[in-house]
Symmetry: D2
Subunit: 121 residues, 4 copies
């Protein structure tokens, strides 16, 4: 699978099949999945605790570290899409709606080069 050809629906199906085969749907309540997702996001973050933001841009230089980070990112997206499965949400549609809202909240002219909350623009 590659990003260029892979749809969200394809991954959602694979993830659901994986859980179903193992009879894990009983554990995959939205509450539990939201916890697992947050836990995996924290594991991804742990790779960057003590480096500066600038240093974190060079993470790709070390192949072993890069492979670990790819695994944590995969875990995050897997749980996010299993959460979508468990709640019947369409991820792409939700993203489209959220990005439209964000475009309203952060108009290009006002937000350019500024990392502040929209309420402070």
């Amino acid at each position: 699978m590659e990003d260029a050809q892979t749809t969200f629906a394809e991954v959602k199906e694979k993830v659901m099949a994986f859980a179903r085969e193992r009879e894990w749907e009983q554990f995959h309540a939205p509450k539990n999945l939201s916890m697992a997702l947050a836990a995996e996001a924290a594991e991804l973050m742990e790779h960057f605790l003590w480096v500066s933001s600038e240093e974190s841009r060079n993470v790709s230089a070390d192949p072993a570290k890069r492979a670990k980070i790819a695994e944590e990112l995969a875990d995050v997206i897997i749980y996010a899409l299993e959460f979508a499965n468990a709640t019947g949400l369409d991820a792409a549609r939700s993203i489209e709606a959220k990005m439209a809202a964000n475009a309203q909240k952060y108009p290009v002219e006002k937000a350019r080069g500024r990392a502040v909350k929209y309420t402070e623009l």
Copy 2:
């Protein structure tokens, strides 16, 4: 956009364009994005703090709550894909590799109906 037709690459491009237009790439170091991702995952989780796992399955019943949850899920995936952009990772390829590893760690026969770590199977 809908899950059935939307590829990861499409969303990655939209997310990157959104940041670039606002000159936000200077803020989008992997360290910072991993924090934003973890923070959004926590916001999603906050909707489920005090309900039981079983109750969390009925979240869809309340449309206002469902809309909020869809927004938080969107934020999580947006930051995950912007993280992929910032690190040059292919999300779908990473997921495929991780799911293959998971299938080894959790063989169907051993893992069926059991929510324990693979080291305890």
Copy 3:
């Protein structure tokens, strides 16, 4: 040390001395400490991903698991107090102020037996 006799100041001093001896203060910027704290909180949470809320009350039954959980809780408080050190905050004073505010937001009569946000009381 035991809760009955140990003050916040005592633990703050021990934690600061530990970091100072190792010349770790250079890494202990508030940003980094807030990440480490969130990461440790997530590790504590990982012990409860797939059990129900009710089952989680019996965690003490398994001594090995209990010991692990005690370690994670310790890590959380250690980083919280090192964060207080790094920012010059008085933890107890902050807690007192926050509990007074919470008492206003959640009056006993209205909040009794209800796990909803104060804006919905």
Copy 4:
């Protein structure tokens, strides 16, 4: 209350009384408290998403921001100590044991000035 005089036991009692008065113990299962703790840690972290580690050291300069951060830190410690209440753990004793283990894992000579995991020292 101030750090210099306040014991962990005092705060644990106040936090427990607050919950008991409101009949919230039914919601305060360890699973739920671990989620609330992680969510509050994420809120603390949100104040530092887009600043550099160095910039985060000057957070005290802005009194309004400092007050917000003190509130989030208070929430973290409140939930950590309510978690200790719910699980019957002694926080100070757990911290003492964990710091002794950390001193073994990170000997001063080897760990000085280095922010790497003990397995890499």
